[in-house]
């Protein structure tokens, strides 16, 4: 999915090391489709034992409705490789995530779904939490082409994105399609491989 630019309010979740088991608990991984995961995003933090939304959990508050940016604590998305985590975040409505760091597999999974992980320095991260604490309606602007985040006080901060992922997101490039253009190179590589296993033997 393409990503170019967005301007949005932020949903702050300052906890560090939020793992993908929290984002989408394992019991929802028995599905064979990608659909219907958004309702169970952060399920065990979001609903009580009777399945009713907890009023004090941020995703249940009006401020989360329509927000496209999740402002997350350090090392967001650690643990399990489940791509159900970015699927659930996107189905809830998020299009970008801001943190000081993201877990490797989660970050790769997010980029492949058009969910942009924006890495900012610790001081900017702290300032964003302060800004959203004093006014929940403040907005950030994320411009992928220029790799800039504009903070509520008008500061422009650059963020890193590798050039290939950026190109794929901006243009909506399909990675499998890209790789399939290189079938000749793949075949040549296969011709010189030695010591292959044969799982079908």
């Amino acid at each position: 999915m393409k990503f170019q630019m967005l301007q949005s309010r932020m949903v702050p979740m300052p906890q560090r090391n939020i793992d993908t088991d929290q984002i989408i608990p394992a019991r929802f991984l028995k599905t064979i489709s990608k659909e219907g995961l958004g309702d169970n995003l952060f399920c065990d933090w979001r609903y009580d034992a009777q399945g009713k939304p907890k009023a004090d959990f941020i995703l249940n508050q009006p401020r989360a409705a329509g927000a496209q940016v999740l402002l997350a604590g350090d090392n967001f998305g650690c643990g399990s490789s489940r791509e159900h985590a970015p699927w659930a975040l996107m189905q809830f409505g998020f299009r970008a995530l801001i943190s000081t760091s993201f877990a490797d597999i989660f970050r790769a999974n997010s980029l492949k779904n058009g969910l942009l992980p924006v890495i900012v320095p610790a001081d900017v991260h702290a300032a964003l939490f302060d800004a959203v604490a004093s006014d929940r309606n403040v907005e950030v602007r994320i411009d992928l082409q220029n790799q800039t985040l504009t903070t509520p006080d008008g500061r422009t901060v650059e963020f890193p994105v590798d050039s290939f992922s950026k190109h794929c997101l901006l243009e909506g490039v399909d990675e499998i399609g890209y790789t399939l253009q290189h079938q000749a190179e793949i075949a040549a590589f296969e011709a010189r491989r030695v010591g292959s296993v044969n799982t079908t033997a």
Partner: protein, 464 residues
């Protein structure tokens, strides 16, 4: 060059400046939970699986560990298992399914079948794929989009990671095991400490480990944030592989060993970073919190939030202790446990079961504790039966189950009730990991067996 760079370089199919490398994948392991959407993607594109002969599937995550002659009661899980069977049929992928005599946890059967070999690139839609690094393979977990990419092209688009050497020297003391090495490393670097890196485990303490112990170490690499961790192959590796169903035979074996012996880090190679661990100073480790980095030596007190200066860290610790129902400043030893789980891709191999059985032989588990022993594969189960281990477990009062992921991820009905304490040989203690509201202490099979006997968190050295 490091072994990591050697394996990387020998798998680059194509690289455009500025773009990630197109990396060839030698072995792709598949299971029921993360693959259905990838196969659906192939169907929508009208693509085939490029190399079914480099792909293998099993069912492990969502299947019951009870009597396999009965149908799966959970209809959603049953549908997922049936979908994997249908996908494997449609795309000609060999499947060690629920009734196969080679079924098992994907990271147990790959090595067991001799499919995982030195110098390979191995991927699976599962973060514990790092396990296969024990053979000197570059092995890492991937998401479902990447599964589809590998199915379609047998390649992945990857950027080079940094390298991190974890050097472990010295001799482990009695009662201290491979699990304690990796729990100690994660406690030291934190759950995000290895992000962006691939680890090479070196040092004479690593060399002294068996293949199964090396798998335990590599398995939990991801819990320190690193996607892959490996051990350069040596005679221990070759001996393990020799004669396995998919290992090379005859002259091919000799040629393979000669190739594998080149897979060492050169003396003049440098790593991005090096961490050293003194094996002789390690104690049995246990986690007290809600991520695997929250670990302490078993005799040490649980950290006190008031002693932590960083506000974010203090809050995280307080939140973890609240969830766990624990107070800072007290040791865990003596804390009651309700469930003991011996299993998972970390610790369900035959040596893990032997270790637990040796301690449980002639003893009884505490009547207040439910003990579940889940072998990693049908092969492990057969070996355990041949050695009389199930009788030992049953006589002690433990449950002996069919192979699978079971209570590690608790999506198959094996779970821990809310508020209960589980002492588990698995790899994750995240909130709700073993069941909604469940509280997990991670530790070694030795600590698990000792605690099963006493009913409380126990330093195994008091029973040795």
């Amino acid at each position: 060059m490091t072994i990591i760079e050697k394996i990387w370089d020998s798998h680059v199919v194509y690289q455009q400046p500025g773009a990630p490398a197109l990396l060839y994948i030698d072995l792709h392991l598949i299971h029921e939970v993360t693959s259905p959407q990838a196969f659906q993607g192939l169907r929508e594109r009208g693509l085939k699986v490029r190399r079914p002969d480099l792909t293998v599937a099993t069912t492990d995550h969502s299947i019951p560990t009870t009597d396999r002659s009965l149908p799966i009661v959970d209809e959603i899980a049953a549908r997922q298992v049936a979908q994997l069977e249908a996908n494997c049929r449609e795309f000609d992928i060999p499947l060690y399914g629920i009734h196969s005599d080679r079924q098992g946890i994907v990271h147990v059967i790959g090595p067991e079948l001799g499919l995982t070999q030195p110098g390979m690139t191995v991927v699976c839609g599962d973060s514990h794929t790092a396990t296969h690094g024990a053979f000197g393979a570059l092995a890492f977990g991937i998401g479902t989009s990447e599964i589809e990419h590998v199915l379609a092209t047998q390649c992945l688009l990857q950027r080079k990671s940094k390298t991190l050497q974890v050097r472990v020297d010295g001799a482990l003391k009695p009662g201290v095991s491979a699990k304690d090495i990796i729990l100690a490393l994660i406690a030291r670097i934190g759950i995000g400490g290895g992000t962006g890196s691939i680890i090479e485990y070196t040092g004479n303490a690593i060399r002294a480990l068996s293949m199964e112990e090396r798998m335990t170490v590599c398995n939990m690499t991801i819990e320190g944030g690193a996607r892959a961790g490996l051990v350069a192959p040596d005679d221990t590796t070759f001996q393990y592989l020799h004669g396995r169903p998919h290992a090379p035979k005859g002259a091919e074996w000799d040629a393979a060993v000669a190739r594998w012996k080149q897979l060492v880090t050169d003396a003049d190679a440098t790593y991005g970073r090096t961490i050293t661990i003194d094996a002789g100073a390690l104690e049995p480790m246990i986690t007290f919190g809600t991520n695997p980095g929250m670990g302490i030596p078993i005799g040490a007190p649980v950290p006190e939030p008031s002693q932590v200066s960083d506000p974010g860290e203090r809050e995280a610790l307080q939140q973890a202790l609240t969830y766990m129902g624990l107070e800072g400043g007290k040791p865990l030893a003596g804390h009651p446990v309700n469930v003991v789980f011996i299993g998972s891709c970390t610790n369900s191999r035959i040596s893990d079961l032997r270790t637990a059985a040796r301690l449980l032989a002639g003893r009884k588990v505490n009547p207040k504790v439910r003990v579940l022993v889940v072998p990693g594969s049908q092969e492990v189960k057969r070996q355990a039966i041949a050695e009389g281990l199930p009788e030992i477990f049953r006589a002690a009062g433990a449950e002996w189950r069919e192979p699978g992921c079971s209570m590690c991820i608790a999506m198959n009905g094996d779970s821990v009730a809310a508020g209960q304490y589980s002492l588990s040989t698995s790899n994750r203690n995240f909130e709700g990991r073993q069941g909604k509201g469940a509280r997990t202490f991670l530790a070694s099979p030795l600590t698990a067996a000792a605690s099963a006997i006493t009913g409380v968190v126990t330093d195994v050295r008091t029973l040795l």
